[in-house]
Each structure stands twice: as structure tokens, then as C-alpha cells.
Symmetry: C2
Subunit: 180 residues, 2 copies
């Protein structure tokens, strides 16, 4: 079963920051796990074609610009952590794109700080979720039912984890949800 999926990313252009703001592990390991299972994985950012160089020299090329994608193109959305989500949610387009997946009950995976995009999309009221320690207060204030567990699956649609330490469980459960 082939699946396509958007992976949020951030580049450093015009921001005076760099790729260190993205949790490379969450992109590479999770992305690779999905590809190994036969899914198609794409990255989305403000501009397509931009190459992001990770802290350890790994590179990642942005496949699509946010203006060119729509909900219909993808089956699932992955929101990796780091400081990328906080930078992306400054831009209403990324918040709206996240909200579209949640409103349509399409599969969404979020880890660490990725859930900040769900908070900005106002999609967490009444939903069970976990997340990185520093944003627990924000998750609870957003109406989420916070659970301090490595993996939380809500309504068979939303999968959340706390940190990269949870990533094996995150990948395993996420892949199960996609039906492999």
C-alpha cells in the first residue's frame, strides 16, 4: 500500500538561523522508516528545491512549496520537532495546511514540538496527546488531554510522541496505523 505524506521542514533563509533548528533525527529516521515500508515521503517548505544540510552533514531537499500543495495530494502529515514548528506557525499557510488534515480526519503524526502546529491550528480540544516537556502547559491550555506516555494514539487518526527517545515506538505505531 503506497502512501504519500508531507513532512514539514524549515530552512534558514532570511531568518538568520540555520538547519540546526530542525530535529534531524526525527526527519531522517522517521522518513527512512516510512520509505523502507514502501511509502512515498515528501517535504514541504516555503520554497521547493532548497537543500537543507543537517548537523551531521546529511542533506534533505524540499520537494514542494507550501503554495503548491493541497490536502488531496497526501494521505498523512508528519510534524517533526525542534524549533522548526514554532518558526513555521508564524506563517498562516502552514497552520492552515495542518488544520486541513485535522479537520478532514486525515492521519497526522507529531513528535516533540511538532504539536505546536496543532495548537496553532486549534485542533487539540478534547484530543488525547503527548509532547515535549516544555510544551505540556501549552497542550493542556489548548484543551488536549495530556498523557505522559511514549506514544499516544487518538481516535486512530492522531499519533503523538514526546522526544526522539520515543522514536522507535513512534515509527512502529505510525506505520501500523498506515496499514504498512
Amino acid at each position: 500500500m503506497q502512501k504519500t505524506k508531507g513532512v514539514y521542514q524549515v530552512n534558514g533563509e532570511n531568518r538568520d538561523i540555520d538547519y540546526k533548528f530542525v530535529r534531524g533525527l526525527e526527519i531522517y529516521r522517521t522518513g527512512k522508516a516510512f520509505e523502507d515500508a514502501g511509502h512515498e515521503v515528501y517535504t514541504i517548505e516555503k520554497e521547493e528545491g532548497v537543500e537543507i544540510i543537517g548537523k551531521k552533514g546529511r542533506t534533505l531537499t524540499i520537494n514542494y512549496r507550501i503554495d503548491d500543495v493541497s490536502l488531496a495530494h497526501f494521505d498523512a502529515l508528519l510534524l517533526p520537532g525542534g524549533f522548526s514548528p514554532d518558526l513555521l506557525r508564524e506563517d498562516d499557510r502552514f497552520v492552515e495546511f495542518t488544520k486541513a488534515f485535522m479537520d478532514d480526519k486525515k492521519t497526522v503524526f507529531a513528535i516533540c514540538h511538532g504539536q505546536q502546529l496543532l495548537i496553532s491550528a486549534k485542533s487539540l480540544a478534547g484530543r488525547e496527546a503527548t509532547g515535549y516537556k516544555s510544551i505540556i502547559v501549552d497542550l493542556e491550555n489548548a484543551g488536549a488531554k495530556f498523557r505522559d506516555e511514549e506514544i499516544v494514539v487518538c481516535q486512530n487518526q492522531l499519533v503523538t510522541s514526546r522526544t526522539p527517545a520515543d522514536m522507535l515506538a513512534f515509527n512502529r505505531v505510525s506505520l501500523n496505523l498506515l496499514g504498512k
Copy 2:
């Protein structure tokens, strides 16, 4: 009138990040404005003596470790922005220190993302505040009355601004509040 004041900071040790996470401008310009007005300015972090090197080569040395300070040592607290506040609020000691200032109605200045520490301290319910665009949703969810203004003064005790672009007003109003 001499005043002392704690400035939150973050260093990169054991975090695989670096000083770029701190909004240097907010530290240096605001700190200098306060010193020029005759106030004593101190920095607080996990360890004292650590030297932080800013993006443009400016350095800042941490004066006190968080375990060695208490509310009684200071008249006011400055919470600069960047990603520093989100890193600091992972550590309950910084949240408790922030909460102590707010509970005691001591003067607190926060700019950009600095308000994330106030959210974690659960000190914003019913308070008027502004902040950086990406955290507006978190401020509102925390019960703050958000105002999209360059400077918001609440109950003559809490001063907040949105971005470094508001800094001149932030410094001017903050200094007025301290009585010069």
C-alpha cells in the same frame, strides 16, 4: 536609584545547540539601556561563569547560577526572547523563579518568546500582555488578554513587547517603570 535585575540566558552545553538560540539584541541593547540608566544588571543560568558568545562576537558572562539566587536578591526580572525561554522552561527551577516574581508582584519585563516562561509559571490568567506572533495562541490559551501593541503595561508590574522592533519602546517604558 540603583536597581538589580536578573536576565535569563541559555548556554549550549549538553544540548547540542549554541548561543544562536538567544536573541542577542534583546540581551545587549536592553541590558545596556538599563546599565546606562544606572541599574545593575546580572545574568542567571544553570552555571555561573559560563561565557556566551553571540552571533556577532559579543560576549556575555553568566553571573549567577540559578541555584544560588532568590527573589530577595533582585528588584526586577527581564525575560529576553529567542528560543532560550523554551529551553529554560524545561527546567522547573527557572519556571519557579519566574513564578516567584509574578506572585510577589515584582517588576517583570518580557519580550518576544520570553513570555513562554510566564505561561509555564501559570501567571498570565487575566493579565494584559503581548508577545511574538507564533505564541499569541499560547498566550490566549493561558488566559492572557492579548493586545497587538508594541508595548503593554499591566498593573504597573508586567511589561511585554512583541519583537526586537519594539525594543526602543520596551526599554523606554521599562526604565520609566523602574523610576529611572
